[in-house]
Subunit: 407 residues, 2 copies
Amino acid sequence: MLGKEKIERYFAERAKRMKASMIRQLLRYVAEMPDVISFGGGMPDPASFPIKEVREIVDYLVDELGPTVLQYGSTIGSSTLRAQVVKFMAEMGIKLSGIENVIITTGSQQALDLLARVFIDAGDAVIVENPTYLAAINAFSLFQPRFVGIPMDGEGMRIDLLEEALKKLKSEGRRVKFVYLIPTCQNPTGISMSMERRKWLLELASQYDLLVVEDDPYSHILFKPTEFKRLKAMDEEGRVIYMGTFSKIISPGLRVGWMAAEQPIIDKMEIAKQAIDLCTSPFTQLIAAEILRRGILKTHIPRITKIYKEKCQLMLESLEEFFPENCDWSRPVGGFFIFVYLQQGVDADAMLDKALERKVAYVPGKHFHVGGGGENTLRLSYSYAKPELIREGIRRLGEVVREFSGT
Amino acid sequence: MLGKEKIERYFAERAKRMKASMIRQLLRYVAEMPDVISFGGGMPDPASFPIKEVREIVDYLVDELGPTVLQYGSTIGSSTLRAQVVKFMAEMGIKLSGIENVIITTGSQQALDLLARVFIDAGDAVIVENPTYLAAINAFSLFQPRFVGIPMDGEGMRIDLLEEALKKLKSEGRRVKFVYLIPTCQNPTGISMSMERRKWLLELASQYDLLVVEDDPYSHILFKPTEFKRLKAMDEEGRVIYMGTFSKIISPGLRVGWMAAEQPIIDKMEIAKQAIDLCTSPFTQLIAAEILRRGILKTHIPRITKIYKEKCQLMLESLEEFFPENCDWSRPVGGFFIFVYLQQGVDADAMLDKALERKVAYVPGKHFHVGGGGENTLRLSYSYAKPELIREGIRRLGEVVREFSGT
């Protein structure tokens, strides 16, 4: 038999560089330890899934459409679903010309992969919030961009620092392909970008001739009314590529997301997707389309927002109660995440083993950073853990923090 | 608004090279012309989908597992499904150590994409049957291998010519990453490789230290008993990477396939898949697993094989009746395709317009060839067209051939 060493000689250079995502490894580890209270992965609460509606819709689709629901679909996606997405986006304040501006993706992870394939040449600058979504870094890395991380504060990406970076990149003659952001309820920080910053960002995009990728999985899960507009709703020049997903508001198991952008971009995405998976499951696409058509989300989204709001509140209160005073954390207006800043010098990565011994899990913040930094930060997800365990988990973690940092 | 020209400046070099697959374009075109008799795409017959069983299984899964059927799953795939795949492969004469040798893919197209990512460096030689599966060429091309096409005859890939090519590549110091084949009921030719050739191929793989990729979507759809063993069943050195799919025997709409290989390969595939789509839909995976668990395929496969056998027979008889004597074609023992060789000098690509005028579609064979050739060939798929239209379609096409070739 070919051994491990022999097999490795066949791997491409890029494959030799590939590392398992820290989060996926942690999830796997935690899955084998059912008594761990996990604030690690950003999984939705299964209580938020419209399971009865899905079952009913499967029956309906089989009756209405027969076996064709199980056939191959077009690469760009079901036109029924794309039309529903256009309507859904109109309700979000985003006016598209038509379904030609929409491509369906196999979860929004595939959208990240498509972005990498279609836009990134080795060495291109890709600008991200720092910290940013780990799976975006992983997807983009395949084609070896140079990541430029822009620090954040409580109002989101520091656009003044973005401007500095753009000037510098321009003077160096470096090519910027796009700015990737999660402007609303960001992963991992939970921070939302202020309207002022959003406007300024789009002004800079115009001035420096940039594309902007707006990854928007959480903006429907808002705990209080806000004045945020999506970047795509403010996009007068067609510079914004919008990424949407049903993973958090319907179910991640359907693996249905979408991108909305100017047609030449969608056309190129479609060609790239042919070689990736031919098509997203038309079966799960039609389920999503029917959920939209029936207007189920109008009552469903408020219901699940209530679940997450209560969990977030519970976690914030527990942090206040159990964490040392020299720690700080974000106060999200929505989404799944709270980001914690420990005392400077405390290494949250090294602390994880202690936390796991005490049966509580989180993701060390440094993994979300490009170009180093964030050692004293960690991401807590309140989305998945049972409400009755959130207080206990934060109590344990508070003890670990005190012991580990000697406070 | 950014215009098309401006947007194109952002595209990566690889994206500028990407072309829409001829087949996907043709399918789209034909979909808009419902009166065309299409022998173009290799879509299964919707009458072959176990739609009642799928509906029943969705009810069962919702009752048994509740909302977790809609949750994220692990990247490597559902362990329930992987265990069923191990059993299914044992029935196919392939003994795996366990589920650690299996990764679930989002259709077998994703397996092709994973192969490209994990194995191909630019300039690596990738050896394929000539002609070969178009979507494999597309997927592999992303990383710019050098394709080496080995001609086929009625017994499959010409292994004598493979040996010559291997000698030549070795003398040139070129690195061969793998040999990719569809040994049974090949796409596009419908040809199956003889047992003698299979043995010889594996001997050469051992001698030249090669990996072999066995893409096997059609081997369950055999019209008569045959003596073929899967390459993976004959693989004593762990050199064969097996690609399976439920697209042809259950439904392509589930988007569930798998790869079976030595564990270090599966491990690397898992890491690569994280950045591609996080996981294949656990919902559709569980449907496939339950179909396997219930033993539905034991009666289902014979039932659908009968459908395809009759269609194939009908097409072969019609070819005999309506095509000129100077044409020849393959006589498949199973699968979805017949490959037609027109008179030398007749360009099947140029003939397609005439065929579409007469409302009949096929795929010109040259698109399946690497390094040129095959201009006088075409692929006919009998899988999708209604039986009552097959004879009429071939009659029309026979007329087009006669007119176009002046016979």
